[in-house]
Symmetry: C2
Subunit: 322 residues, 2 copies
Amino acid sequence: MRLATRANGKPDGELLVVSVDGARCLAVGPQLPNLLAAMEDWASAQPQLEALAVRLAAGEGDPLDESALLAPMPRSWQWLDGSAFQTHADLMQVAFGTDPLKPERPLMYQGQSDRFLAPREDVEFLDEAGGIDFEGEFGVIVDAVPMGVTPAEAMQHIKLVVQINDWSLRAYAVPEMKTGFGFILAKPACSVAPFAVTPEALGEGWHDGRVCLDLAIDWNGERFGHANGREMAVGFHELVAHATTTRDLVAGTIIGSGTVANAGYAEVGSSCISERRAIEIIAGGKPETGFMRFGDTVRMEARTADGEAPFGVIDQKTVKRA
Amino acid sequence: MRLATRANGKPDGELLVVSVDGARCLAVGPQLPNLLAAMEDWASAQPQLEALAVRLAAGEGDPLDESALLAPMPRSWQWLDGSAFQTHADLMQVAFGTDPLKPERPLMYQGQSDRFLAPREDVEFLDEAGGIDFEGEFGVIVDAVPMGVTPAEAMQHIKLVVQINDWSLRAYAVPEMKTGFGFILAKPACSVAPFAVTPEALGEGWHDGRVCLDLAIDWNGERFGHANGREMAVGFHELVAHATTTRDLVAGTIIGSGTVANAGYAEVGSSCISERRAIEIIAGGKPETGFMRFGDTVRMEARTADGEAPFGVIDQKTVKRA
C-alpha cells in the first residue's frame, strides 16, 4: 500500500491512497483527514486504507497530480535521524577531520519535525556560505511505541517507509558536534519523496529492517551515486528500539537511516557531497568538489530491480530566501 | 496575563485564562481551543485572551482546580533548549569530566516536544540506573519567527514565559555528547509549571530577555537551591535569534534557558544534582550526592520579591514505569 498527501490549504494536507503504478488515487476523506491522524489510530486506519487500495487495484480512482503532493507527513511531533551506515560515518570523520567514533549505541539526533518539504518545492537558504549539501536516506514511520521495547517488538511498530533528503549545512556541523549538543543550524528542514509505502509493499526491497534498494541521486542532472540501503549496520527496528530506551515514541515519529552509503563507494558513488569530498581527501589530500550553489538541482529516486520507484521522486532546486 | 491548560481528554487540553492570584479562571472556548492554536494566530488571540483577563480582574471566573492542569502547552512541534548560564556550563564540565567549551554561538539542542508532563503528575522511568536528575529552568514560547531575525526582532516574538523541569538521565549524557549528535536517551520529556505568563505580567521579573526571579527548588522537602534567572550569558531573544540562523521557527516553539545557575552558588545552591556533585568534586575530589531514587519528590517554584509565584508550582514524584 502506498499513501500520499495532497495540499488542501491545511498544514497536514489531505491523505490519499495511491495505486501501485502511482497513476491514480482515492482521497481517504474526513474520517482520517491526514497521515498523522492515521498513525495515531493505525489499527483502525489500516483496514480502511487497504480497502481503498483494493478499489484502486480494481481500476477505480482519479488521476494523480504529483505536482500537488506534499511530503507524506508534512509535519510530525518527532524526527529522530540515525547514522546507521558505517561507510558514511567513516567518510564523514575524514570530511570533518574529527576523531573516529566507536559508540556502543546507534548514533541518533533529534531534528526539525515541524515541517517536511514537499518533493518538488524549491528549497530556500539565506546564503550559500553554510555549505549546502544533500543527504539521501530512508526512513520509517511508527505508531505509538512504548518505552523500552526490544528490536523484535519495534519491528511490529514500523508501519510505513519513506525516502528523505536530509538537507545539511556543513559549515555549521563540526562546531555544533564539538559542543556535544548536536545539530541545530547544520540541519534545516528535510524533504520527503511523495509516497509512504508499507514494508510489505516493498517485497524483497524490505529485509531485516533495511530498505534493500538502490537510491539513485542526480546533482544538476548528472548521476552522483546509487548506493543501496541494505548495508545499515543496524536495522530500522534496532534504531526504533534504541530511541525507546528512555522515552515513549509518539505515533507518527519518523526515524531516519542516515545517509545511504556502501563500502563499494568507488563503484556506486555517494549520497551526499561531503562523502565525495572525503573520498577526494583520501585520494589526493584535499577536497575538489564544492557544495551546492543557488539554482542547483538534486533528484533522488529509489528503484526496484523491476525499475519501479516505490517512493516516487524528490526533485528540487536550491534558491536564495528573498 | 496568565494562561493555563486544563485536561479535557484531548492531547492539547483546553485553554484557560487565569486570574492574577491564580485562584479563578475562565475557559477560552472553541474559537481558541488550545494554547498551540492561540500561538498560531497570536495577533488575533491576544486581544481575546486579554478581554477575559479584564473580566477576571473584575471578579468574574470559576474557581481554578490546579490538580486538573496540564503543562500550559502539553505538546509542541519544537523544543529547543539552550545552556545560557555560564556557571552551569562550567560546573557541568567538572561533573562530566569533559573539556571546557568555548563555543562562539549559544549552546542549544533539540529535545522531545511531543509531550510535556503536567506539573503534578508522577514521572516514570524504567530504572534508577540512568542517573535521574532534575534541571530547573525557564523558557519562552514564540509565535512564528522567520529565518535570520536579529535579537531585537526576536524579542518581539517572545509571547509567553514558562518554568520547566528538564528531566535528565546523566548516565547517558557523556556518551551521547561524545558522539557530537546530542541528547536522545539523556533527555526524556520535560515537566512544565502550570501557568504561562506574558513577559509584561512579570514586571521587573522580566528584564533584557531574562527572567530575573529566584527559582526555589526543594528535593524531598529540603531546599536545594534558589538561583536567580538573571545571570544568563545571552538573553532569550539572543537564543531565539540563534535558533533562526538557518530555519523558520514554527509558532509554539519553546526555547529553554538551560539550568539556572549563579556564580554565587555557595550561597544560593544549585538547580540540578549534577552541579552539586561538581561542587563536591571541586571541594573534596569526588561527588557525595547521589541522583534521584524512585519515590523522591522535587518541587520548583519561582517567586517574586512580593512572594508571588507567577508560574505556579511543579511538584512531582519519580516512579518506576510498571
